[in-house]
C-alpha cells in the first residue's frame, strides 16, 4: 500500500504540489488526472525516490521514501513521459543495461527480455538500433524497461501516448493483467477514456488533491444521481403523480429527469404505469469522465503553473 502524508514540493519558490494526502491500495489501478503543471510528474518522481519532497512523507509498504530509497526504487518500475532510450543501441542492449542496474542476473534478464519483446511484437526488431523505431515501438520498449525487473509498483506516465489504437488496446489490456497479477499500477494520463476503462480509483490533482474516489462515486458527488424516464402520455398527469411522490425533478418534453430519487426506480415506474403512462426507457443519467474532470478542474479555481 502507498500512503502519502502531507506531501509538498517547492521548486525555486514555485509550489509544485502541496499538502497531498492519499492512500493507494495494493493491487489496484490508481489514475492521477490533472492539467499540465498540476504536479502529476512531481508526485510520481517523489514516490519513485528520484527527488525528495520539501515537506511530508510517503510510505510504500510501510517504507519511508526518505529512508528506504534504494529498496523502494528496486520494487518500482517507471515509464517516464519521454521514452528516454539509447538510440544507437538495439532493444536488447537497452533492456540489458537497465536490467543490470536493477541487479538482475544475466539469465533471468534474457528470459524476461525475450518474453516481453515477443509479447509486444518487438522480437523481430530486437537487433535494430532503437533510433530506427517508430514512436509507438519506442514507447512499448520503454514500458518493457519499466517492467523488466518485475516490480510491485508500476508508475506509468502517459503509457499509450503515441501508440496506435490497436497497440493502445494491447497495452491497456496488459495493464489490466498486471492488476490481476497483484501489481499496483499508478497511472498518469490525459486520456480520460483510458482512465475510465482502467481506474479503480481516481485522484484529480491540481497542485493539491481536488477530488478522490472511484469514478462512479466521483460522478455521484459532482453530478448527483439522476434517473431519466422517457414516456408517452399525458404530461399533466405525470406532473401530478411526481408531485404527489414529492420528487425533485424536471421535465424535458417527454423525458422526466429525477434528481436523487430517494426511492427505487421500480416504484416510480409502477406508479406511472398504473396511472396509464406508457414508459419507453428508464436509465441513470450518465456523465462521461471528461465532463466530470472538466467540472472538477474548472470549479477548483486553483491555478496550476
Amino acid at each position: 500500500m502507498i500512503e502519502i502524508v502531507e506531501l509538498k514540493k517547492v521548486f525555486d519558490n514555485v509550489t509544485a504540489i502541496e499538502g497531498i494526502n492519499l492512500k493507494i491500495n495494493k493491487g489496484e489501478i490508481f489514475v492521477i488526472l490533472g492539467p499540465n503543471g498540476a504536479g502529476k510528474t512531481t508526485t510520481i518522481r517523489i514516490l519513485t525516490c528520484i527527488i525528495n519532497p520539501t515537506e511530508g512523507n510517503a510510505y510504500i509498504d510501510g517504507m519511508s521514501i526518505l529512508e528506504e530509497k534504494k529498496r523502494i526504487r528496486g520494487m518500482s518500475g517507471l515509464l517516464t513521459e519521454n521514452p528516454g532510450l539509447y538510440e544507437r543501441f538495439n532493444a536488447i542492449e537497452n533492456l540489458k543495461f537497465f536490467s543490470s542496474l536493477y541487479g538482475m542476473d544475466e539469465r533471468s534478464a534474457e528470459e524476461k527480455i525475450k518474453y516481453y519483446l515477443e509479447k509486444f511484437s518487438l522480437w523481430e526488431r530486437r537487433n535494430d538500433p532503437v533510433g530506427n523505431f517508430s514512436k509507438g515501438m519506442k514507447q512499448k520498449l520503454a514500458l518493457i524497461r519499466a517492467l523488466i525487473h518485475d516490480p510491485d509498483y508500476i508508475y506509468l506516465d502517459e503509457p499509450t501516448a503515441s501508440l496506435d489504437p490497436e497497440t493502445s488496446k494491447i497495452v491497456r489490456d496488459f495493464i489490466k493483467d498486471l492488476k490481476k497479477e497483484g501489481k499496483t499500477v499508478i497511472l498518469s494520463t490525459h486520456n480520460l477514456t483510458e482512465a475510465e476503462y482502467l481506474a479503480d480509483h481516481i485522484a484529480v490533482l491540481n497542485t493539491r488533491i481536488v477530488a478522490f474516489g472511484t469514478p462512479d462515486n466521483l460522478r455521484r458527488e459532482v453530478f448527483g444521481k439522476k434517473v431519466v424516464i422517457e414516456f408517452t402520455g399525458n404530461v399533466d398527469m405525470v406532473t401530478k403523480i411526481l408531485n404527489e411522490m414529492r420528487l425533485n425533478y424536471y421535465l424535458d418534453k417527454n423525458r422526466i429527469i429525477i434528481n436523487e430519487p430517494g426511492i427505487r426506480n421500480s416504484i416510480i415506474v409502477e406508479t406511472l404505469v398504473k396511472a396509464g403512462v406508457s414508459i419507453e426507457y428508464v436509465y441513470d443519467e450518465s456523465h462521461t469522465l471528461e465532463e466530470l474532470y472538466l467540472r472538477l478542474v474548472n470549479n477548483d479555481g486553483h491555478k496550476s503553473d
Binding site: 528520484i50 526504487r73 518500482s76 519521454n82 528516454g84 539509447y86 543501441f89 541487479g103
Partner: protein, 255 residues
C-alpha cells in the same frame, strides 16, 4: 556500499555509446597518432643534432650527450599530458550531453543505482580509454627514446620523472579534466556547447604546458609538485561536481 557490477554496467554502456560516435573514434585514432609522429620526429632530430656535433668520440663527451639527450627527452614528457586532456574532454562532454539529449537520465535515476555509482561509472568511461591510449603513445615514445639513448651508451627511461608522469600526473590530470568537463557539460544543452566548454577548460591548462616549454626545466620534483596541485584540485572539483550531480538538479535542469 557501492556495487561494482552497476559501475561496470554504466561504464560499459557509456564507453560503447561514446565509441559509436564517429568524431570520437577519429579523435582517438587521429590525434594520438599525429602527436606520436611529431614527438618521434622531434626526438629523432634532437638525437641527430647531438650526433651531428660529432662529440661522441670519447667517453666523457658521450656521457655528456646522454645527459643532454636524457634531459631533453624527459622534458618532453610533459607534452604527453596534452593527450589525456584533449581526449577526456571530448568523451566526457558527450557522456553527459548524450544522456540529456536522449532523456535517458530519469529512467536511470529511477533504478536502485546510487549517485556515487553513477558518477564513478560516468568518470570511468572517459578515463580508461584515455589512459590506455596515452600509455600506448607514451610507451612508443619510451621505447624510441631508449632505442636512441642506447646508441649514446645508456637508457633514459624509466627515470623518476617518467614514473611521476605515468603514475601521478597523467591519471590525476585526466581525472581533473573529466571532473571539470562533467561540471561544465552538465550545464550545457547540446554537444556543441559542451565541446565549447571543454575548449575553454583546455585553455588555462594549455597555458601551463606552454609555460613548461618556455621554462624547459622538467624535473621529477617539479612533476610531483604539479601532480600534488592537480590532486588537490581533483578533491576540490570532485566535491563540487558531486554537488552538481544532485538528482534534483539533474532531473529539473538536465533537459
Amino acid at each position: 556500499m557501492m556495487d561494482i557490477r552497476v559501475i561496470k554496467a554504466i561504464y560499459k554502456k557509456d564507453l560503447k555509446e561514446i565509441l559509436s560516435l564517429t568524431t570520437v573514434k577519429y579523435s582517438f585514432i587521429f590525434f594520438p597518432v599525429v602527436f606520436l609522429f611529431i614527438m618521434l620526429i622531434v626526438i629523432y632530430f634532437t638525437y641527430n643534432s647531438l650526433i651531428a656535433q660529432g662529440s661522441i668520440q670519447n667517453a666523457a663527451s658521450a656521457a655528456k650527450n646522454l645527459e643532454i639527450f636524457s634531459y631533453i627527452s624527459t622534458s618532453y614528457l610533459i607534452f604527453f599530458g596534452i593527450i589525456p586532456l584533449s581526449l577526456a574532454s571530448t568523451i566526457s562532454s558527450y557522456s553527459i550531453v548524450g544522456e540529456k539529449t536522449q532523456r535517458t537520465i530519469e529512467p536511470i535515476l529511477a533504478t536502485p543505482v546510487e549517485d556515487s555509482e553513477l558518477f564513478i561509472g560516468k568518470m570511468l568511461a572517459p578515463f580508461i580509454p584515455t589512459i590506455i591510449t596515452t600509455y600506448i603513445v607514451l610507451g612508443f615514445y619510451t621505447l624510441f627514446v631508449d632505442y636512441l639513448s642506447l646508441r649514446l651508451g645508456g637508457i633514459v627511461f624509466p627515470n623518476y620523472a617518467w614514473y611521476s608522469i605515468v603514475i601521478l600526473f597523467i591519471p590525476f590530470s585526466t581525472i581533473l579534466m573529466i571532473l571539470l568537463t562533467l561540471v561544465f557539460s552538465s550545464r550545457a544543452m547540446d554537444p556543441r556547447s559542451a565541446q565549447q566548454f571543454s575548449s575553454i577548460i583546455l585553455i588555462p591548462l594549455l597555458i601551463i604546458f606552454i609555460l613548461g616549454i618556455v621554462i624547459y626545466t622538467l624535473t621529477s620534483l617539479l612533476i610531483v609538485i604539479m601532480s600534488i596541485i592537480v590532486i588537490l584540485s581533483d578533491i576540490v572539483v570532485y566535491k563540487f561536481a558531486l554537488k552538481i550531480f544532485n538528482r534534483e538538479i539533474i532531473v529539473s535542469r538536465w533537459k
